[in-house]
């Protein structure tokens, strides 16, 4: 199995075909990292909101 099929697919490159070709296994690194990054964004904004209440 190639690296592409084992998690290193690129969501942006395949954006127009995702409705046909998406699989979590193929895009695992993109999906996981993207979700984690959004969680970091949410955490930072939540911290800033909490800090405003100090």
């Amino acid at each position: 199995m190639s690296l592409e099929d084992n998690g290193l697919g690129l969501l942006l490159r395949d954006l127009l075909q995702l409705h046909r070709t998406f699989s979590y296994r193929r895009y695992r690194i993109d999906v996981l990292g993207f979700v984690v990054a959004w969680l970091v964004v949410a955490a930072m904004i939540a911290f800033y909101f909490w800090m405003s209440r100090w």
Partner: protein, 500 residues
């Protein structure tokens, strides 16, 4: 209004001198290992996670941002952070973009545009980018010298000359490798810059309780009201424009693509920028502290708040450290921009169309000469530039004209050069037409993006497609993860677009 005595004590001067001498020596020491244009322009694509984070943080952070956010917070409170935090919503997309840049295996953004949309688009972009990089250098130098001059009392011209001479010396010698390794040190100073004043300032105002007692309640709302300068619609359009335009910035190929592995590039670009978002909190708190201790600055003078806080709150020795930090941010940015500009000129103009088929050592020498001229031009811009803010806003709004073309070039195989030219020119005309008609920048950006997207789709569909061999140079690498290079063959031997 409390006036503060400017100037550096002997201890401050010693700290600053040690820093400047040390960073110059480090950069020149690193340059001993740079012997090829691949090393000069892209660091041989060997940077690990730490260096990639440092590169993203150092290249993307300069002191005018700290001064601007502190000034905004001085006027409006905690919501002033959104002048930097508007980019926080684009940061997760860097995780997705970084491997795209790394897999392209190119040196400059102009390389991409030449393969994707032809020689004329690439040359136009190269000259546009060199101009952008020189102007950004000028903005960074100007922003730092104004603040440092306010703190120290030294002339702006002398400060600018010292800054330009230092980053030019190690950048010319060591290229991107020197710029990135010094970014590691200077990234540390960025963090110092961001938080050094805060404990001294909070102590002076009585902590967070003191801030709440002495500032209006509205200062602690993290979003400003609808219709204000940071309304929901304005921020949304700035985010969208920023996300579209980020790919047009000429230094992105280095920031996103010079890591050893795809994961290094992802982590570096994404988390280097998250560190910058955290630093923005320190800048905001500095602005609030200054609003309590030094009230009364007019709106047009609010950016003096940061410099005032440095002189008023920091003890001897730490003022010198803060001045070093301010200079560190601008040198980190400018050294990288200088190298990127040299790469564009040498790789996409000189080597391609002026002097061909010479040894790599010749092009390395030319790259160093071009770096010097770019640094000199940036310094000249800083000397003659009247305003930092207006120049900065202008370039953020025009980048999407080219950025949209990059995005569609990756996502849609049928995008072609005719669509690219139509999109770029059309979106620019719509934006400036909207502005001339009195629409806000946000509405102008919205109509401009819609026009650019429509023109790319319609024109590309009705005009001849790009040659398959040119598309192969783009999409074959994109389907080839780093580590499977044996599948690629000789990428540089792939034919380039023969016609403009």
């Amino acid at each position: 209004m409390q006036e503060i005595k400017r100037g550096l004590t002997g201890l401050d001067a010693a700290v600053l001198t040690c820093y400047l001498a040390g960073i110059t020596a480090l950069g020149i020491y690193v340059s001993r290992r740079v012997r090829s244009t691949a090393g000069f322009f892209m660091g041989e694509r060997k940077f690990g996670k730490v260096l990639m984070i440092a590169q993203a943080l150092g290249t993307g952070t300069h002191s005018d941002q700290a001064v601007g956010v502190a000034g905004a917070a001085y006027s409006v409170g905690l919501s002033g952070i959104w002048y930097q935090w508007m980019w926080i919503f684009t940061t997760p997309f860097y995780w997705l973009l970084a491997p795209v840049f790394r897999r392209l295996r190119m040196v400059t953004m102009s390389d991409f545009f030449e393969h994707r949309y032809g020689r004329l688009y690439a040359i136009t972009y190269a000259f546009f980018s060199i101009y952008l990089l020189v102007l950004w250098q000028g903005i960074a130098i100007k922003g730092a010298t104004v603040t440092v001059s306010a703190i120290t009392g030294y002339p702006e011209l002398a400060i600018g000359l010292v800054v330009a001479a230092i980053f030019a010396s190690y950048g010319i010698a060591g290229g991107l490798t020197a710029a990135v390794i010094t970014d590691c040190v200077q990234g540390f100073f960025v963090i110092i810059l961001s938080f050094l004043i805060v404990p001294f300032g909070l102590s002076a105002v009585g902590g967070f309780a003191g801030l709440h007692q002495r500032l209006p309640a509205g200062f602690f709302h993290i979003f400003s009201g609808a219709g204000g300068e940071l309304s929901g619609f304005n921020v949304t359009m700035l985010v969208v424009s920023g996300l579209v335009g980020i790919t047009a910035q000429p230094h992105m190929m280095a920031v996103g693509g010079s890591g050893k592995t795809e994961l290094n590039c992802r982590i570096g670009w994404t988390y280097g920028n998250f560190i910058k978002r955290v630093c923005s909190i320190g800048w905001t708190l500095t602005g609030l502290i200054a609003a309590v201790l030094h009230p009364g600055l007019a709106f047009g003078e609010r950016e003096r708040a940061f410099g005032w806080a440095v002189v008023a709150l920091l003890p001897a020795g730490l003022v010198g450290l803060m001045v070093a930090s301010l200079l560190a941010t601008v040198m980190a940015t400018c050294s990288a921009f200088m190298v990127d500009g040299a790469a564009l000129f040498v790789g996409n103009v000189y080597k391609r169309y002026m002097v061909k088929d010479r040894a790599d050592g010749h092009y390395l020498k030319v790259a160093r000469g071009a770096s010097f001229l770019i640094a000199a031009a940036g310094f000249a811009f800083a000397v003659f530039m009247p305003s930092v803010v207006s120049a900065t806003v202008h370039f953020v709004t025009i980048l999407p004209f080219v950025g949209l073309v990059f995005w569609l070039g990756i996502i849609w195989r049928k995008a072609n050069r005719y669509g690219a030219w139509s999109s770029t020119i059309g979106s620019a005309l719509v934006f400036f037409g909207c502005r001339a008609a009195g629409y806000s920048t946000a509405w102008g950006s919205l109509w401009s993006l819609l026009a650019g997207l429509s023109l790319m789709i319609v024109v590309s569909r009705w005009t001849p497609p790009e040659p398959e061999e040119a598309l192969a140079r783009i999409f074959l690498p994109l389907y080839t993860p780093v580590g499977e290079e044996d599948r690629l063959g000789d990428l540089e031997g792939q034919p380039r677009q023969g016609q403009a």
